[in-house]
């Protein structure tokens, strides 16, 4: 067991040393793998960020309830009280007609035009936020139906359509990321496989000699498998660097945009888990590409 482990570590280090002897071609291979991995990784991080940004839009599900124009403030208060007692409602905020007018005057720039009106044209309104467990579109639709029946309520406005549209688009994008990942993973397999194939061809004599003195296919293959792991790991590292650089470059402008929208949103990088997945995934792909290529090719090399 000890000898076995010792031998594996030796081969692992030995194959790294061998790659070191031809730094240019090794670097080239690693860069190609890295770029291939960086693209889906960047897309993934972007989608993750969009998701977490849109996760803060719980208020998008708020239901606006407008009282009838004739309804008094007391009526509105009673309605709010009744709605608040419902189990599928988290909170109810009463927006008095006067407050609403004041806000509209400040926000819209139509202040002077409003002054020309004799009466306040706005009704009292309630902003109803569904409880956490009742935010699927079906439950929300049901709730708004019930709200419509409450005394004094005129219009119930529910604007979730764009949220579901947005989520649907996000799902498509996520699927595209997955497909891209699969495609680029395949590309990495081919790159590693082809590189290993050339490595094997260059060391044909050595392989023949090793087989002559009793080396099995598994023994001969081992250094090439480790080569593949190094290529993949190096590629993963390059991809990680690319993602980090891209995220750093985008961080500031995105924060500025978020600031303009009054959000404190910040771009998230790969994180520990994502980084580990990228590196390990790269190594695993390298191992697999090398395994496929070397198993096929080494069988054909026999001493003459």
């Amino acid at each position: 067991m000890n000898t076995w482990l010792e031998r594996h570590v030796q081969t692992l280090v030995g194959s790294l040393g061998r790659l070191w002897t031809k730094p240019f071609s090794t670097l080239l291979t690693i860069l190609v793998i890295g770029i291939a991995l960086a693209l889906p990784a960047c897309l993934h991080v972007l989608v993750q960020n969009v998701r977490s940004a849109s996760g803060g839009w719980g208020n998008a599900l708020d239901i606006s309830v407008y009282m009838k124009p004739k309804a008094s403030l007391d009526q509105a208060r009673q309605a709010a009280e009744r709605i608040r007692k419902r189990r599928d409602v988290e909170s109810v905020t009463l927006v008095k007609a006067d407050d609403a007018l004041e806000e509209f005057r400040r926000g819209s720039g139509f202040g002077e035009a409003l002054d020309a009106l004799k009466d306040n044209p706005l009704p009292h309104a309630l902003v109803v936020r569904p409880a956490a467990g009742a935010r699927e579109s079906a439950r929300v639709a049901e709730l708004s139906e019930e709200l419509r029946k409450v005394d004094g309520v005129d219009i119930v406005q529910l604007d979730t359509a764009w949220v579901s549209r947005f989520n649907a688009i996000l799902d498509v994008v996520r699927r595209i990321v997955l497909l891209a990942l699969g495609l680029f993973a395949l590309g990495v397999l081919v790159i590693v496989g082809n590189t290993i194939r050339l490595d094997i061809e260059n060391r044909r004599d050595e392989i023949e000699v090793t087989k002559l003195v009793g080396g099995s296919n598994a023994f001969v293959r081992r250094p090439f498998l480790y080569n593949g792991v190094w290529y993949g790991l190096g590629g993963g590292l390059v991809a990680w660097l690319v993602v980090t650089v891209v995220m750093t470059a985008l961080g500031e402008p995105v924060q500025r945009i978020a600031g303009l929208y009054g959000s404190r949103f910040e771009l998230q990088g790969l994180g520990l888990q994502g980084s580990a997945a990228l590196l390990l995934g790269g190594a695993a792909l390298g191992w697999m590409g090398s395994y496929i290529a070397s198993t096929r090719q080494l069988r054909g090399i026999e001493p003459k």
Binding site: N2, T3, W4, E6, R7, Q10, D205, E206, E208, V209, T210, K211, L212, V213, G214, G215, S216, N217, F219, E302, P303, K304
Partner: protein, 234 residues
């Protein structure tokens, strides 16, 4: 140790290298294999090292039938047979140490034992202290001896050599042959292909002569090489 029983070997290109060869080499025996070039000496050795398989007939080496041994068992089989090649077949980009130690690395011997055994093997062939050299820094004779050290380091019970003195001057040749004789004296079965009759005569061991060419009537095409075995003990 080695038993050829009506063995034929025909290569894919149609060349018939061995025809109906029967031959037995006993355990612990030392024998020379002679004959003109093209007589089938190399083919015979390749069959023993399982680099080639017989086309017909059976060849049993060390109790194993080389015709039916599965591919997966070939590496283990080769580890029991030490082979010395005319062209040494060394790894030119690795030091002598790595070359000689390779069979032990394959066999999974611990690193600390490998060092000891490599030095012991190099000592036996008179190359102690050269383990850090690369093969190209050595003379042909020295390279040949590195090849011999590699062949014997795994303590094989059978040692075969294809023209081990082919590129050596007479003094060196004698030295190398004496080396083989010493291994034989400690119980290793040794079979050496050589066409250096003058050298062979100096050793009182069995000679196996392969001869090509046998006339058969009526055939217009070039005859296949036919080998008859003349085994003589001197």
């Amino acid at each position: 140790m080695i038993r050829f029983d009506h063995v034929w070997k025909r290569y894919p290109n149609g060349r018939e290298a061995l025809c109906d060869l029967s031959l037995e080499i006993d355990r612990g025996e030392m024998a020379f294999l002679t004959g003109h070039s093209g007589a089938g000496k190399s083919t015979l050795l390749k069959l023993i090292a399982l680099i080639e398989r017989p086309t017909r007939g059976t060849l049993v080496v060390n109790g194993q039938n080389t015709g039916t041994l599965p591919r997966s068992k070939i590496p283990a089989f080769r580890r029991q047979v030490g082979v010395v090649f005319q062209d040494h077949k060394l790894l030119m980009d690795r030091p002598v140490y790595d070359n000689v130690g390779l069979p032990l690395v394959i066999a999974g011997v611990p690193e600390k034992d490998i060092g000891k055994r490599v030095r012991a093997a190099l000592d036996q062939v008179g190359l102690l202290g050269r383990e850090r050299n690369r093969p190209l820094e050595l003379s042909t004779g020295e390279q040949q001896r590195v090849g011999i050290a590699r062949a014997i380091i795994g303590k094989p019970s059978l040692l075969i050599a294809d023209e081990p003195t082919g590129n050596l001057d007479p003094d060196l040749s004698l030295e190398v042959m004496n080396l083989f004789k010493r291994f034989n004296e400690v119980g290793v079965t040794v079979l050496i292909a050589s066409h250096d009759l003058h050298l062979i005569e100096q050793f009182g061991v069995r000679r196996v002569v392969l001869e090509g060419g046998r006339a058969t009537g009526g055939d217009v095409e070039p005859m296949p090489e036919v080998i008859s075995i003349v085994a003589e003990r001197t």
